[in-house]
């Protein structure tokens, strides 16, 4: 008889681990596999690269949506990171009257359902009589990215001691020197993670973008959704495979970048 429950425990956790991996990766593997299928349906008809050819040479709409996504992601992340960084530093290091309430208000969007943010932005743009375009998408993305950047920057700043700021003053730094030469450089890891986080959120976003996009201003997620409606799966499989490869590359290299920068 086996009485050693330690082994059982280990077996259980192994089973859990393996099944999580399977559930998580099997769909991805299936998707990757079928991107090389020569048929159009979910029946395997042999290996082919025709969907990749379709993707790269006959999907100009998709690529323009991809370009829009990138433009929106880069610009909104940049602005959101700038505003979030300044805001996080302001909230953290400086004392002012309504600080506590401001803090609560800035974090609210994090827990608000996306659909509410989307609808409210839509109503606001309609009220302002603005035409939905890439610009409205950019504004919307900047809006929902700021709280994330704030959160990341604040938690980074929490690790530092106010005495560092006092030390800088003590050594002759003026307010502006302290900001530019101490506070911001010290927050760089947070700024980078905030920017990457914003990029991811922005590239991913469907719900909010759905409300604030107009004709001719589709982002990649919106475009993919419309493609599924039209029933062209295999190209999406190919596209997804490319995106998965891209994501893996990016996360590996960003680890390396971080290692290099912050040893």
């Amino acid at each position: 008889m086996r009485t050693n429950s330690g082994i059982n425990k280990r077996q259980i956790s192994l089973v859990v681990f393996v099944s999580v991996i399977l559930f998580f990766y099997i769909p991805l593997l299936v998707l990757i596999l079928y991107s090389f299928n020569s048929g159009k349906t979910m029946v395997w008809r042999g290996f082919s690269l025709q969907w990749y050819e379709e993707l790269f040479f006959h999907s100009s709409d998709l690529w323009s949506a991809f370009r829009s996504s990138l433009i929106v992601a880069l610009s909104s992340s940049f602005i959101a990171t700038a505003i979030g960084t300044i805001g996080g530093i302001g909230i953290h290091w400086y004392k002012f009257k309504w600080k506590k309430y401001l803090q609560i208000v800035t974090y609210l969007p994090l827990i608000m359902p996306e659909i509410i943010i989307g609808v409210s932005l839509l109503i606001m743009f309609a009220w302002l009589k603005w035409k939905m375009s890439l610009f409205t998408i950019f504004l919307a993305h900047t809006t929902f990215n700021i709280p994330f950047v704030l959160l990341i920057i604040s938690s980074r700043l929490d690790e530092f001691d106010y005495q560092i700021i006092e030390a800088a003053h003590d050594l002759g730094a003026k307010e502006i020197d302290t900001l530019l030469k101490v506070i911001i450089p010290m927050s760089i890891p947070g700024i980078i993670s905030g920017f990457l986080m914003s990029m991811t959120l922005s590239l991913d976003d469907f719900v909010i973008t759905f409300f604030v996009s107009g004709p001719g201003s589709s982002t990649l997620p919106l475009h993919i959704y419309s493609m599924i409606n039209r029933g062209v799966f295999p190209v999406i499989n190919a596209l997804s495979t490319v995106l998965i490869a891209g994501t893996v590359l990016l996360s590996v290299s960003s680890k390396n970048i971080q290692k290099y920068m912050f040893k």
């Binding site: 530092f160 006092e166 003053h169 003590d170 030469k181």
Partner: protein
Amino acid sequence: MKGSVVLINDINKSFGESRILNNVSLEIKKGEFFSLLGPSGCGKTTLLRIIAGFETPDSGDIKLDNTSIINLQPNERHVNTIFQNYALFPHLSVYENVAFPLRLQKKSEKIINEEVRKYLSMVKLEDHIKKMPSQLSGGQKQRVSIARALVLQPNVLLLDEPLSALDAKLRQHMLIELDSIHDQVGITFIFVTHDQQEALSVSDRVAVMHQGVVLQVGTPSQIYESPGNSFVADFIGETNFIEGTVVSVDDKMGVMNVDGIGKVNFYLDKPVKTGDFVRVTVRPEKIRITKEYPKIEGHPHTIVLNGIVDELIYTGFQTKFFVHLDSKVLFKVFKQHVKYFMDETPINWKDPVYIWWNPADGYLVEVEPR
């Protein structure tokens, strides 16, 4: 010209309802190694922060060489601070941390290089120039912060418990080094500590603070040998108090009557009248302890008491005896082992003993007229 005279004039400071500093006035000499010593929470850090400019006092003035600096910002005062937790810039290397104040002054690269290397070698960190603060030990971080504070050649260096985060051995070592750095740069040091050993061993003068009030200012030996009041006597080192009513006074000596002990002689360190209540402090290491009645011919004023050893603690270089007198009074007596300990006739637990001291070795700390 190196170092400044620091005049602290009647500083008061409250946080909310509580008075943290109470009419604090001090005059610190040019180039002096001056310590602020007091128990936790007595306001040392607050006073230091007022000198550095991080806190504004409610009233009072601070002068450097006769110029008031009370309205200047921290970055405009020729005063630099060593923070307790080092406060190094985590994103800058050792070299860049020390170069930071020079870069703010837009010094040329050549001067920066010379100065940084000079001060890093003064704190013996030449070999760690390229490291980041996270790669340094506590002692090394402290050295960087010292170099960084000195590189601007301030007139005054403020040190807030700079050694408290280090282990005992290293603390001793750094203290000696601080002392030698002080000798090299020759500027005024104001050193905050709650450790009386630290304060006594390196300071030119010490101010003892308690609850926001300066109780006594003096050289280490003045503070130790002639404490200004019972608090100072008790706070600095260890001591015994004997108190009683004065029964007679002549021109040099007085005699008091102590409950349960009887007549005890003391020197008149302060004017005393018959009938006054007096308190005398006697340091444990100045009291002798023997099993036989001591030979005191020629020293007629020697005080001899007898009791039982209640407890003894052997600490290597000395043994601490806690002696119970008949009257239940407990006396601390420290006996130095100047010879090989085992050679001496040992005094054991519960042994009856005589303890004795010369009245000149006691100090009259307090007199309450009756």
